[in-house]
Amino acid sequence: MRNACTRLAMTASLLAAGATMAIAQGAGLADPKLQASWAFMQKEMPGVPASLLEEACKEGRVMLYHGTWVQAQDAQVKRFQERFPCVKVEKFTADTGQRQERWLAEIRANRHVADIVQDTDPGFLDAQSATGTLLEYKISNDAAFDEAAKRSGYWYASRVALVGIAWNTDLVSDEEAKKLLRWEGIVDPIWKGRAAVVDPAAGGVAYLPWYVWLKQYGPDFLQKIGDLKPRVIAAIVPASASLASGDIAVLFNASETGLLPLLDRGAPIRWSLPEPGIGPMTGQAIARHAPHPNAAKLFQEYSFTEEGYGIWQKLGGAPARRNFRDQRPVAQEKWYKVPATFAPYDRADASTNLQPVMDAYRKLVARPQ
């Protein structure tokens, strides 16, 4: 008697379970706790199946290898966690060279830790997608990105890290600043003893302008920069800080990455983004052997939704998504203008030119005393 009862109860619950599953497949999802997440997905990630959410939740976590844009990343992660409480986001933050070395060493050793990787050098991500270390996954918002801002199915650009000429408004008059709207303006003798440059050896965005200047304007341009005896600063962050503090008046190869946090905090700085624009994309991709592939896909999806993108971009840099309204307060400033054209950038060419650019810089700008 007792046995029979139990069996009956079991059958009933099995039936019930089957019914719930059927509902889930139909309407999308079983677990009521996931309803909110699912609703968001349906709105912002059209076409992404509910199973991705379920699988992602089963995996329960996602590991992010990201760069040193802590505040942008933190803000985005925070919102992601609210949207998808079932996936815990873990972060490893480091400067580009170190992040790359660690990730690659792990891959070589077949120890897969990273789910999501970011990089300020799209060329690096291109190369990695070619060697098969990235997972092919086309995001639902793929169409929102131009060809230059993605390698479809591999990486998508979180931002453009724009390079410009920055000045301290306490030390440079508006009249003087007009000269700084064009790259050619930096070689004006009025900047003698007032300006600084970031050493191209700092890499990444610090290097690119030198590469472009040499290509575009020739060694003569570097010679003229050298004549101004600019202060050489080792890295972008301390250079931006020096500008904000008023220790230098002008920074020739400033990066928005360094400037934005300072402007947000009320520093008396401004910058121009002359034509042709210089600004590598910062891309994000999924690792080929991501230990949490579904959670990774979910995060990748979220990062490029209207919401996820906006949060990151607001603190991280100029948007690379087509027709995306720039969330940054600076975008509202009258003086702020994103360049219309960009200097062509070819990773292979930039790499092969590294040594010549460095040599020219050492000879013409950082002249040995």
Binding site: Q98, R108, S245, I248, R265, A350
Partner: protein, 568 residues
Amino acid sequence: MTQTRAQHGSFDGGRIGGFLFLALLLALIAAPILYVIYGSLRTGAPGAADAGFTLENWRTAYLSSAYLKALWNTMALSAIVSVLALMLGGALAWLVARTDMPGRTQMALLLLVPLLISNLITTLAWIALAAPNAGFLNAWFRSMTGVRTLFDIYSFQGIVLVHVLHYASFAYLAIFAALRSIDASLEEASYMLGVGPLGTGLRMTLPLIAPTLATSFLIIFVLVAENFSVPTLLGSPVGFHTLPSLIYQNMAVTPARPTLAAAAGTLLLWVALIGAAIQRRITRNASRYITVTGKGARLRSAKLGGWRIPALCFVALYLFLAVILPYFALMLGSFMSFLTANIRPSVFTLENYATILVGDNLAPVFNSLILSAGGGLGLTILYLGMSFVLAQASKTFARLVEYVTILPSAIPALILGVGLIWTFVGWSVPIYGTMAILLIAYFLRNLGYGLRQANNAFSQIARELTEAARMNGASRLRALWDISIPLIRPAILSLWTMLFIFIFMEVSATILLYTPDTRTMPTVLWNYMSSGSQPHAFAIAVAQASLVFIVLYLADRKFGLLRKTLER
């Protein structure tokens, strides 16, 4: 006349265990270094599919003028800093430990404070203070006198200043411990001969602490040679580059050149070996410096007489430059939206602290405390154990080990971190991605210092003291525990203190090896720094220094880190 053979003693299990332990540690030391050397001979990172052998990296590092110039700069900077830091630290230690200078008990702990902010943060603080145009100090001085710049931190002197102020404190602690354990009868003999305090200090005390001085010299030399943040930040404007700043650049450029960085790293190994050879010459006859003997010893304070106040002023001046000024800049900066000399109410904010004092940042605090207190103690025991086992090995072997152990400290932490990844990433043993790899990194980073300090500590005790214990029925380990350890307590505490501080501050290797679960305070600080927010970094630095100081203060209260040894 029966002859029985004793059953015990023919197989010394303890000794064999000891040597196995040593062999394991040596493998641990050798692996990342060999990986770095191997990597330096490759076109790509070890394990990379398309990499092959090349001498190109070595050619660049060993033959190009840029690297040779940097090598020269590195050596010159290290030598100057080490000598100055030793002189300054030695004077401070002597004044606090062995004279009747007023306020010395209070000063004892304060003199450690310069070590509680990393070199990087000290440098940023000094930039805030003495940047030529907008440094607080220069701006203030300009408003007072109209002179444009009082002191320009972007200079060779600036680099030396930042380093010397930092490492004088390091030298102070090491010498302090050595001075506390000197047999005063040796000094008394000198006083009896009518030699004054200064003469006695120079002629008697100095030779007695020679091993400590030599070790401190070596360690400061190597650490300065290895440091990249100070010369990178302060030297770039004047075109002054050291090897580590070039190495850093090799890792920063795109594409990064880790193998060239590794080759340049090997250059520093030679620098370290030369330093170790010098140190070895000075300490060769360690028994000449035995300062704890079985004969009674009394400590004696030199009477400074009329020099008491000038001495206090001297210590105060050091504290002003090494503590008050940089901490003033740090504190001020940590309450500002951004650093500026143009001080007005609107730049002040509490946001920095509000941001860092979040639950998310509690784990790093906890990790840092565990790693530096627990790990520091563990490493202290490990170094003492190594030294103890080595004392039973053959002299040639012990010397070889001593040379080898300086190497991991000499490789820039960044490269050491890369070497550790290359070594451990493929292991299935849970080391990579756990706290274990951080502890291994800290073990290696501090090995040269820790092992030598342990050696020095042991060599201060006359061998008869432990032998007497054995003649009284104590085993070797028991004699270590009952006799040696209590007798070298000041040295052990100073070693633990130093490791606690060093580990708490370590970032260059940690930044490569940490995981979300093993974040430390300095990694959080570093990431804020790199993300462009110096004020946040300053706020963390202030929190970090306060935390470390409180821990040290409590430890001093409880275990008598410095105070009790002072009252001995």
